[in-house]
């Protein structure tokens, strides 16, 4: 394995551009073998020259996490940030979970990072105390030195490494964590480590990884989920200059999980030659049962299903009785289509099979899942899969699913050389793990003031569970728990129902996951109710949220997911939700911005991934119905925030992602095949379509870090994606016609 690592390193260093994170990762392993850096923690080493080497075990896809977690270590270490080198970890269970997904990097690792830094600092202080023969309590780590105030003595960390490395590692109870007042980096404005590289094209992504002698693969995959290869003719392929050979990849065995989809690969000496060869392939498929999948008829089927009672997943009070006695009832249906992640870097990996082991460089959110999936595909142990993690050109959940890494490994075994797999944009859009399409039916019984006395919310969608259980028909606990069964409103009668539905394509998680459709329906409906009651939206939302309280969530037949956190530590707190509503309203100037011709304001508030968000969106529509978004205000209470700079950037980006969700592309299938193929027919927001300015208002909070700010702002879908139709949050009757431009695809209007 060591040999292969060195070969791989040469492959990287041999390029015209300087070393990236990956190379550094390999260098550290090699340095370990030669001159052992002192490693008091799996996350931290200090070299004899004093350089602190901090291991980033989570994947970097733009959130800043590979800078921000090391900043936490450096802070407790009392390290000088200029003397810190960040190394990207390979996949290894010794780091704990590396699945950079679910907005939990800070929540799950903040304490561990602080302990790693504090452990090393204490040991350096102990080494200094020993050296100077003074009590350790009088020695203090300070900006890469240990100082003894009484005598004025001072020793650089590097000088103390040798002695510190001989000391026993202190117990957790002995650690002295820094008080907040002494934080150097936590909660401060510090740029991430990759900014400069990104301005000169020097960041190394999965698509940039190379291994000596590798071939480039372009793969023709089954056009329909579960289709089988009947036959193929590659006679014309072999005439393409640069093509080396073709190879087949077996289809998956259900459930598909993260297995390769299968197909026929063309292997060549360049990306271009492989793609040209692929065009000459003639392939026949047996399409199987999904060959008749059609989005228009599926939509009709889903919208019909939501008219029928489903499985009850939350039940408070007596909804039926309240509806029977209601003076007024309001109903609405909403539909959200399949959506594709479309990260700017498509799935990409290079892998080498050699002597029964695999080494891969991959743009992956989860290197341990790579180890497991590749091991499964190759019939080897996961310990025999070494996964180096590159930078990711966007992830959004797509790169948690390592089917593309399996493809590279399987092809490498067949051809006896390293193989690089880069999906084309067409591959990416046609073979994604799509965000689920969903139908939602909402019904409210209203009192004389237009406030709901009963609330029914039915959802029907293909579950992410279908990726792991081919027979899955109902939503999983985590899908139910994303802004649906945890509705926080003060409504005495409330029922949520889930109808059964089978998947026809691969369904996966994308950014805000199930919040996208639940929040869309809920906040659209709230907006309609406020309009029907002729009430100010802000006042109406505050009224719905009711008194300040922690809302106990007790779903039917399952536990409340709550991001796997106890409700006692992370309650559904209406006071925090109301506060972000008030801040967003105040900062946006809500009270003074009345809708006028061609201009409207919308607001929505949502709790998502343990974080409270309210968004006010200002929309202009011109005479020709063209929509622009001059301004967005988003108030966020995410608990403790480690990097306010990255938190703001994530939320700014979330507003753009939300704009794409609300106003742009959809994925559809006809005859089982995905219709869309590239950014021409799956458009995403561009600079002239995105919000012109997003003002982010971070709410100071003593609550524990909820969302991994700076991790993806999942709730962009809630606060913002709720504007999916545009109509609910943005639409105002005063805006000139064309609200259809906003209106997504509900079954009304």
């Amino acid at each position: 394995m060591n040999r292969i690592e060195k070969v791989s390193r040469r492959g990287f260093l041999g390029t015209a551009i300087g070393a990236g994170a990956l190379v550094l990762g390999v260098q550290m392993n090699e340095a370990d073998a030669a001159t052992p850096a002192w490693m008091p923690s799996v996350y931290l080493g200090i070299e004899p020259n004093g350089t602190a080497v901090i291991v980033a075990h989570r994947s970097e896809m733009g959130t800043g996490i590979r800078s921000v977690l090391p900043m936490v270590v450096a802070d407790e270490l009392e390290a000088d940030w200029k003397k810190v080198r960040v190394e990207q970890a390979v996949g290894d269970t010794k780091y704990g979970s590396q699945n950079t997904d679910g907005s939990c990097s800070i929540r799950d690792f903040y304490d561990a990072m602080r302990e790693a830094g504090a452990t090393a600092r204490l040991m350096l202080e102990q080494a200094a105390a020993k050296k100077w023969n003074v009590p350790v309590a009088e020695c203090k780590g300070q900006n890469h030195f240990v100082v003894h105030a009484k005598s004025g003595k001072k020793a650089a960390y590097g000088e103390l490494v040798k002695v510190a490395s001989t000391l026993p590692v202190p117990k957790k109870a002995e650690l002295r964590l820094k008080p907040e007042s002494e934080f150097r980096y936590i909660g401060k404005e510090l740029p991430t480590i990759d900014q400069a590289d990104h301005t000169r094209g020097a960041g190394k992504f999965g698509i940039d990884a190379k291994m000596p002698g590798m071939l480039y693969a372009s793969i023709e995959r089954p056009p329909v989920l579960g289709a089988k290869l009947r036959s193929f003719d590659d006679a014309a392929v072999k005439g393409v200059k640069g093509v080396v050979r073709t190879a087949t990849i077996d289809g998956f065995k259900p459930p598909h999980m993260f297995q390769a989809l299968g197909g026929v690969a063309v292997l060549a000496d360049s990306t271009w030659a492989a793609a040209q060869g692929r065009k000459k392939l003639k392939v026949e498929w047996d399409l199987g049962p999904n060959g008749s999948f059609d989005s228009a008829s599926e939509k009709a089927e889903i919208l019909n299903k939501i008219k029928q009672p489903g499985k009850v997943v939350r039940n408070v009070g007596d909804v039926d009785k309240a509806f029977a006695g209601a003076a007024k009832v309001h109903e609405a249906s909403y539909y959200v289509p399949l959506l594709s992640h479309a990260p700017m870097e498509p799935p990409a990996a290079v892998a080498e099979w050699r002597d029964g082991k695999v080494v891969t460089y991959a743009a992956t959110q989860n290197p341990q899942a790579v180890q497991e999936a590749v091991a499964g595909a190759m019939g080897i142990k996961k310990e025999d899969v070494t996964c180096h993690v590159t930078l990711l050109g966007g992830g959004f959940g797509r790169k948690s699913k390592p089917d593309y890494v399996c493809e590279a490994a399987m092809l490498s075994k067949q051809v006896g050389k390293p193989v690089k797999v880069v999906w084309s944009r067409e591959d990416d859009i046609k073979f994604d793990f799509y965000h689920a399409n969903a139908g939602m039916y909402m019904k409210a019984a209203l009192d004389a003031q237009g406030k709901p006395t009963a609330w029914l919310h039915r959802s029907v969608f293909p579950s992410i569970g279908s990726t792991f259980d081919a027979a899955a028909e109902y939503g999983q606990e985590f899908e139910m728990g994303m802004g649906w069964v945890d509705l926080p409103y003060a409504i005495p009668n409330h029922r949520a129902e889930n109808g059964a539905h089978k998947n026809h394509v691969r369904i996966g998680w994308m950014r805000a996951v199930a919040h996208i459709y639940h929040a869309f329906a809920i906040h659209s409906f709230v907006d309609e109710l406020a309009a029907a009651a002729n009430r100010d939206r802000v006042e109406y939302i505050l009224d719905l949220l009711g008194p300040d309280r922690n809302v106990p969530i007790e779903p039917v037949g399952m536990k409340y997911w709550n991001n796997d956190q106890d409700q006692s530590k992370f309650p559904v707190d209406t006071a925090r939700l109301k506060r972000v509503v008030q801040i967003a309203a105040e900062k946006s100037g809500w009270a003074n911005k009345k809708p006028s011709k061609g201009r409207a304001l919308g607001i929505a508030a949502h709790r998502s991934f343990l974080t409270y968000v309210a968004a006010v969106v200002e929309v202009e529509v011109d005479d020709r119905g063209r929509v622009t978004i001059p301004r967005v205000d988003i108030a966020v209470d995410a608990g403790q925030i480690i990097s306010p700079e990255r938190a703001r950037s994530q939320i700014e980006g979330a507003a753009v992602f939300g704009t794409s969700l609300a106003m742009m592309g959809e994925i559809t299938a006809a005859d089982g095949r995905i219709v869309q193929s590239n950014f021409n027919n799956y458009p995403v927001a561009r600079i002239n379509e995105a919000p012109r300015v997003t003002h982010v208002h971070l709410v100071p909070s003593k609550a524990p870090a909820g969302q991994t700010l700076p991790l993806p702002l999942k709730q962009q879908a809630s606060g913002f994606g709720s504007c999916r139709s545009g109509r609910p949050s943005w639409y105002s009757p005063e805006a000139p016609g064309k609200s259809g431009a906003f209106f997504w695809s509900g079954d009304r209007r």
Partner: protein, 151 residues
Amino acid sequence: MIQLKVNGTAKKFDGDPEMPLLWYLRDVLDYTGTKFGCGAGLCGACTVHVNGEATRSCVTSMKDAAGKDILTIEGLGAKSEHPLQAAWKQCNVSQCGYCQSGQIMQAAALLKTKPKPTDADIDSAMQGNICRCGTYQRIRQAIQIAAGVKA
């Protein structure tokens, strides 16, 4: 044999003249700062300068690049010293960073023709460059800073 200049250095290429410049830069020369995003001129991730003009290298064949001067992000300012690169750092523009080479090359071409771009100029020049992370407002701000126009 196709001859061209890349970042000031003369190069010769005797492969498929239909191969897009993008793959020549990435696969042959290892100038991987220029990114693949769509292969169809729709996203701008592959933007380089051809004889000074912002050009989508994914839809520019080698035969069309023959005799031309190519500038990639690596040639714009290898030490990140171009005013746009400095402004990009000042604004912490990048998130994942993948599209930013193309964004900067596009912006550099804009500033050559319009040293003091208006908001509309920026919209018009930059709308071919997609950033899925959504860094647009910082891109706009960084261009304005580099151009010395009011942000």
